[in-house]
Amino acid sequence: MTVWSRLRPYVMVAPSIAVFSIFFIYPIFYMIFLSFYNWDFINPVKEFVGFNNFVEMFQNSEFLQVLTNSLNYTILSVSLSIVISLGLAMWLNREGAWYGFVQGALFSPHIISLVSVSLVWMWLMDPKFGLLNAILEMFGMQKLDWLSSPDSSLLSLVLVAVWKGVGYNALIFIAGLQSIPKDMYEASALDEANRWRTFYKITLPMLSPTLFFLIIINLIGSFQVFETIAIMTNGGPVNSTNTLVFYIYEYGFRYFKIGYASAAGVVLLLVVGLLTLVYFKLLSRRVHYQ
């Protein structure tokens, strides 16, 4: 073997590995390092403070609210999105031009920029002149404050997330449903099992890899929500929609507390890391009962 043929694979992967190491792997370690320092980004000296940033953070009621907001947002949007999209998938998993069209309409928000989605929904939810309140009034219901009240702001963002996300989730579910062998259903039809029983005994277990994949992917995605908040609410009113990534952004770029923001970043790292581990564990165990 020539030297070149031995070297070749390394040369071929080098550009990619360099990009991943410099822009993804190294920054993780740099962020962990920074979380132990006080630094305002301008001062050349970083002051080592040990775990102070973390202590300060968990004593800060604002941060605790941010964490609660993130959890509420994530749990609500993921559970709603999964349940609704599973229902839609069972309903729309049929051949035919019509079903294709409906699936396309459902999916369209997924390829639209979050900027557009946020702006359109901000306008739909306008308390005075928005379409949503006009529809509520048409049905004789009370107008809502949507984004402008701390009681409904987070729920309004959940609504937008579900609207944007169900189409994608439903199509993944449909792909999962189509991979279930037809003869399993034929067997259960012979057994005269009712629909619910068929769902619990066949569909759900066979769909479990897809289900777990979607739950984890949605959890990771929801915990990083940023765009809708930055555009629609700016974290308000009164911090009711301030979530983790927006909080890191504000502390880093508005208050220049780099160490503190990095400490909040480490919390996000732990959440994402944990979910990723669970995902790979499940993947290697293959959640499947055939």
Partner: protein
Amino acid sequence: MTTASKSIVRVLNVTAMLVLVAIFVIPFLWMISTSLKSYSETVIFPPKWIPSEIMWSNFAAAWNSGPFLKYLMNSVVVSISILLLQFTTITLAAYAFARYSFKGDKLLFGITMVTLMIPGQLIFLPVYLLMSKWGLINNLLALILPFSSSAFGIFMLRQSFKQVQEELIEAARLDDAPEWKIILKIMVPMARPTLVTFALFSFIAHWNDYFWPLVMTTSDAARTLPIGISKLREVDGGAAWHILMAGNMILVIPILIVFSFAQRQIIKAFVYSGVK
């Protein structure tokens, strides 16, 4: 079931489908309708769907409210550069991972898989510091370099390279074809569907991206279309919904047109990326 109850079920089914489609289409129609209204018609309640006079001038007003040509050019340059760089880097890496076994290949592929799970929202702060140290803030390179390879692309392409028949490659090697020729003449054509899928996926993601350009820029020099559109909120104290929706159309319409032509392909691309 009797024929009567069958047709009732069918009517219910069609009605439910229409409601469902409405939920997803009405926001877009509302955007189009607003973008063609005059200001005074955006502030009436209950709202009107059809404007009494079509205000095409809203589009010019939106376009002229900022350096939109600059934003558009930046968006085009960033998405296309990313795509071209990614094609090069992922083809090379995927070929190496699929076709060679070498010391440390597991570790290097592991690094790739870990990267697949690291979102930009997690590492933007340290990467910002890095870019600022290199003087790349407000430079398009800060928007391009971190995405000049793609872990997801390598993962996808490696799968399709592995499926290329061994005989084809052996035959080429017997003909003394150099490796670069095998890649370009055999592997890339065989993996064309995967590359198209990946291209759609990557282009849409970076064309739409708001987060990364937002955190890596502080001036209009390197800002992209999504940032420009979001800044239309500042026009007339944020109440100019007709201008905002007109600007929004500029961002949405190209994607919707592409989607209506390549719907099947795009849906396949995204679903594939989910199912893997």
